[in-house]
C-alpha cells in the first residue's frame, strides 16, 4: 500500500508539460491571460496611474519631493500610525477571539454546526456599510448599550476594533479551521506514542503545521483592516481616520490630489508588501502536509472542558455577530410610532430629499449592477484562474499576486480614477451604467480566482490523461473532466463576487450617479443626514442589504462542501 503510494508520487514527478508541448501550452496560456490582463490594464492600472500622475506630475514635471513633503506632515503621520496600529490590534484581537472558533469547527461535531458555520460566514460578505450601521445601532449614540447602560463606544477605537473582529472572524475560522480539520490526528498520536505529552504533541506537531495558515489568515485580516474604509468612515468619527478614509477626505472633500496621490502610493506599497509575504506563506503552506478527509476527524465534544469551549465559542458568536445584526433589524422596525414598517414605507417615497428617487430603487440598482459585475468577474477571474492552473514560472506567479492587488489598493482611488480617465473616447464610459459594475468586478475578480484556483489545481492531471487515452481531445477532456468538477466552485465564486459587488462602497460612492445610487451608497447618504427618519431608513435599507447578502451566502453554503472551504 505504502509502496504503491510512493510509486504514485514518483509517477507524478515528471514535469506535467513535456518539453515539446511547452510552446503550444504557453501560447494557450497567453491567450487565456490576454483578457484578464487587458481588463486590469484598462480598468485598474490606467485609472490608478492617472490619479497618481495627476497628483505628482505638475506642469510637466514629476514632483517626487511631494512624497517627503506629505509624509512630513504631522496629521498624515498620525493617520499612518493609526492605520498601522489599529490594523495590528484588530488582527491580534481577531486571532485571539477566532482561533478557539477555528479549533471547535475543525475538531468537534455538534448539532447545529452547519447553521453556526453559516452564521459565522455571513459577516464576511456583509457590506462594510451594514457592519458600520449595525455597530452604530449597538454601541453608538442612542444605540442599545447607550439606552440600557449609557455606554457609548462609537467615539472610541473599540467600535472600530470590534467591527473588524466581527468582519474577519470568518477569515480565521475558514483559513485556519479549514486546514486544521484536515490535519491527520494520527500525526499527533504518533508523537504521543514516541513519548510526547498531549501539549508537547500539539506544540511540536500541530502548531508548526498550522503556523503558515495562521500567518496567512493574520495577513489577510491585516490587509482588510489596514485598508478599511466603510467601517472607519461610519464608526471612526472625526478623530480616527485610516489611510483609505484620509484618501477619500483629501480627494472628495479637500480636493487635495497631490496628498491623495502620495497616500495612494504609500498604501500601494504597504499592500504590495503584505501580499508578497502572504504569497510566501501560502507557498510554504502548500508544502507537504498529510491531509485527510475533514469529516472523518470531527467528533462529539467530550468532558466539561470541551463542552465549555464549545459554549464559549457559541456565546462569542452570539454576542459578536448575532447581537449587532439583531439590533440592526430591531432598530429598522422601531419606528417613530412604535414597532412597524414605517421606515420601510418611507423608503418608497422620494419626499425625504436625500435622493432624487425613492431609496428603495437602490435595491434594484444594486441587484442589476451586482449581476453585471458578477458576470464580468466570473469571466475575467475564470480565465485568469484557468491560465494560472498550469504549473508555470515566475511570470505567472507574479500575475497571481497582481490579481490580489485590487483587494488592497484604495478603492477610492480606483473610483476617482474611473471618473477622470474613462471620460473621453474611445473609453467614454462616464455616462454609461457599466462603469459601476466594472469597478465592482475589480473587487470580485480576486475572490473568483481564489475560489477557483485551488479547485482547478486539485483536478488530477491524470484524470485528463485517462480521458485522452479513452479518445477525448484536450478540449473535450476539459469539458468532460474539469468542468463538472469546477461547476460547484464556479457557483461559489459567482456568489462571492455577487456579495462583494453588492457591498462595494469605496469606488461606487464616487461613480454611482445621484439618481442611481446603490444600496451601500444610499445607506451612507442617509446616515450622513440628521434626523430619526433618515437614521431609521438607513437601518431599514441596511437590513434589506443584509438579507440579500445573507440569503445569497446561505444558498452558497448549500452547495459548498468541506473540501472547497479553503481560502475564504
Amino acid at each position: 500500500m505504502d509502496l504503491a503510494r510512493t510509486e504514485v508520487a514518483e509517477a507524478k514527478a515528471p514535469p506535467a508539460t513535456p518539453a515539446r508541448g511547452a510552446g503550444r501550452g504557453g501560447a494557450a496560456r497567453l491567450g487565456l491571460m490576454a483578457l484578464p490582463v487587458a481588463f486590469f490594464a484598462v480598468f485598474f492600472a490606467y485609472p490608478v496611474t492617472a490619479i497618481v500622475a495627476r497628483g505628482l506630475h505638475v506642469d510637466g514635471v514629476w514632483r517626487f519631493g511631494r512624497i517627503a513633503e506629505v509624509l512630513g506632515q504631522s496629521d498624515i503621520r498620525h493617520v499612518l500610525w493609526f492605520t498601522t496600529w489599529q490594523a495590528l490590534a484588530s488582527t491580534a484581537l481577531t486571532l485571539l477571539i477566532a482561533l478557539p472558533g477555528a479549533y471547535v469547527f475543525a475538531r468537534f461535531d455538534f448539532p447545529g454546526k452547519q447553521v453556526l458555520r453559516a452564521v459565522v460566514t455571513v459577516p464576511f460578505v456583509l457590506p462594510t456599510v451594514v457592519v458600520g450601521t449595525a455597530f452604530l445601532a449597538l454601541i453608538g449614540r442612542g444605540g442599545l448599550f447607550d439606552e440600557l447602560w449609557g455606554v457609548r463606544l462609537d467615539t472610541t477605537v473599540w467600535a472600530i476594533l470590534l467591527a473588524h473582529v466581527f468582519f474577519n472572524y470568518a477569515v480565521v475560522v475558514r483559513t485556519v479551521g479549514g486546514l486544521w480539520s484536515q490535519l491527520d490526528p494520527r500525526q499527533e498520536e504518533a508523537a504521543r506514542m514516541l513519548g510526547a505529552s498531549r501539549w508537547t504533541a500539539w506544540r511540536t506537531v500541530t502548531l508548526p503545521a498550522l503556523g503558515p495558515a495562521v500567518a496567512a489568515a493574520a495577513l489577510m485580516v491585516f490587509l482588510f483592516t489596514f485598508t478599511s474604509f466603510g467601517v472607519v468612515q461610519i464608526l471612526g468619527g472625526p478623530a480616527y481616520s485610516t489611510l483609505e478614509v484620509e484618501i477619500y477626505r483629501q480627494t472628495a472633500q479637500l480636493l487635495d490630489l497631490p496628498t491623495a496621490a502620495v497616500l495612494t502610493l504609500v498604501q500601494f506599497a504597504a499592500v504590495g508588501l503584505i501580499l508578497a509575504i502572504h504569497a510566501w506563506t501560502t507557498r510554504r503552506r502548500e508544502s507537504a502536509l498529510k491531509l485527510v478527509d475533514a469529516s472523518a476527524v470531527a467528533r462529539r465534544p467530550r468532558g466539561a472542558g470541551q463542552w465549555s469551549l464549545l459554549g464559549l465559542v457559541v456565546a462569542t458568536v452570539a454576542l459578536l455577530i448575532l447581537l449587532p445584526l439583531g439590533v440592526l433589524i430591531q432598530r429598522s422596525f422601531d419606528g417613530p410610532d412604535g414597532y412597524g414598517l414605517a421606515y420601510y414605507r418611507e423608503l418608497t417615497s422620494a419626499e425625504g430629499g436625500a435622493f432624487l428617487v425613492p431609496p428603495i430603487e437602490a435595491v434594484w440598482n444594486s441587484l442589476q449592477y451586482a449581476l453585471a459585475a458578477t458576470a464580468i468577474a466570473v469571466v475575467v477571474g475564470g480565465l485568469a484562474a484557468t491560465a494560472l492552473t498550469r504549473r508555470a514560472g515566475r511570470l505567472v506567479r507574479g500575475f497571481d499576486a497582481l490579481l490580489m492587488l485590487p483587494l488592497g489598493v484604495s478603492a477610492v482611488t480606483v473610483g476617482f480614477g474611473f471618473l477622470i480617465t474613462l471620460d473621453e473616447p474611445p473609453l467614454d464610459l462616464r455616462a454609461t451604467w457599466i462603469l459601476v459594475p466594472l469597478a465592482q468586478a475589480l473587487v470580485g475578480v480576486p475572490f473568483v480566482v481564489r475560489t477557483m484556483l485551488p479547485v482547478l489545481r486539485a483536478v488530477d492531471g491524470r484524470l485528463r490523461e485517462a480521458a485522452a487515452v479513452l479518445g477525448a481531445s484536450p478540449l473535450r477532456a476539459w469539458r468532460e473532466v474539469d468542468l463538472p468538477m469546477v461547476r460547484r466552485a464556479l457557483l461559489i465564486a459567482a456568489g462571492f463576487a455577487f456579495a462583494v459587488s453588492l457591498g462595494e462602497f469605496g469606488a461606487t460612492v464616487f461613480i454611482a450617479r445621484p439618481d442611481n445610487p446603490t444600496l451601500p451608497v444610499a445607506v451612507a447618504r442617509l446616515l450622513g443626514r440628521a434626523g430619526d427618519l433618515n437614521y431609521g431608513q438607513a437601518m431599514a435599507l441596511s437590513t434589506i442589504l443584509m438579507v440579500v447578502c445573507a440569503v445569497s451566502l446561505l444558498l452558497l453554503e448549500r452547495i459548498r462542501t468541506e473540501r472547497t472551504s479553503g481560502e475564504f
Binding site: M1, L3, A4, T6, E7, V8, E10, A11, P14, P15, P18, A19, R20, G21, D460, R462, L463, E465, A466, A467, A468, V469, L470, G471, A472, S473, P474, R476, A477, E480, V481, P484, M485
Partner: protein, 342 residues
Amino acid sequence: MTALLRLREATVRFGARAVLDAVDLEVTEHEIVCVLGPSGSGKSTLLRAVAGLQALDAGRVELGGRDQRGVPAHKRGVGLMFQDHQLFPQRDVAGNVAFGLRMHGASRGEQADRVAELLELVGLPKAQRRAVASLSGGEQQRVALARALAPRPRLLMLDEPLGQLDRSLRERLVVELRELFDELGTTVLAVTHDQGEAFALADRVVVMRDGRIAQSGTPLEVWQRPVDEFVARFLGFDNIVGATVTGDRADTVWGKIPVPAGAPAGRCEVLVRPAGVRLVAADEGLPCAVTARTFRGTHVAVHLQPEEGPRLEAACALRRAPEVGERVGITFDAEDVVVLGP
C-alpha cells in the same frame, strides 16, 4: 506474427537523466507482455510514451507499423489502465465505462449494451448506477478494466494493475485477468514491480533497469536463467558470489561449485538458487553456522553463515530444518546453479 507495437530506441529524458534509454521492444498481436522493474526504472514512462502522454526525446513508437510521432493520445486507439484507476469521481460506474464509447460517437443503445456486457465480463453485473466512491478497491479495479476495454483498444496497457489491492485479492484477480485476456485475445502491455504478478500474467517478461531493458524472455526463462546479478537480485535471489569458471567447476570463496555444462570460462558471478543448497553433516561440504530460520509455508528458508564469503540461503523441508546456532555442512546442486553475465 506481426508486431502490433514496436519501440525503436525510444528515449525520454527528464533533465539530464534518461528515464527511457534507447529502448527496443516489440509486442505481437494477442501477446501479453509484462514489464517488470523496481520503481524508478522507467516502466511507467514506457507506457506513457506508448500512450502518447509523454513525448519521446529520440527514437520512435510504432503501432500497427505506423510511426506515432505527432499523433495525440486520444487518436492512438490504445487503452491505458492507470495505476490508481483514475475513475471519474463525478460519474457513476456506467458513466465511467461508457466514457470511451461516447468519445468514439457510439449511440446510447450501443453504449448501454456494451456497458452491460463488460460489467458482466468483469464480474460486476448490474453495477451501472453505483457511485465510484462506493466501490471497494477490487471493484474499482474491475470498473477501470471495463472502462479501458470498452472502446476495444488494439493494445491494452496496464500500469501496476493490481498494485493497490491486498495480497489474496491480487492473487485471485491476476488469474481472472489472465483468463479474460486469453478469452478476448487482447494484446496487453502491463508494467509491475511484483514478479509474482508478472509471472502469473505474462507470456513474456521484460525486466527493466534504469531505463534500459535488462532481460526479456518467457517467465520460465527469466526465472531459471536470470542474465545478470541485477535481475537475479530483483527476482529475490541473494546467493550470489564472485567466481572463476574452469570446465564444469567454478572457484569461489564458498569452495568449488559445479556449473552447468557449456558455461563460458573466466571471471563471472554465480547464483545458487536456495533449492540447490543441500544441507549435509557438519564435517562434509562447506561448514556453516545457522543464523536464522524463516518459515515460508511450503519450506523453511535457512540462513547460513560460511566461515568466509557472503551469507547463503537454503530452502529446506520443514522436518529437516536445523535449529539456529547449529553447525551444518553444505553442498551445491549443479541444476540450480546459474552462471550470470557480467
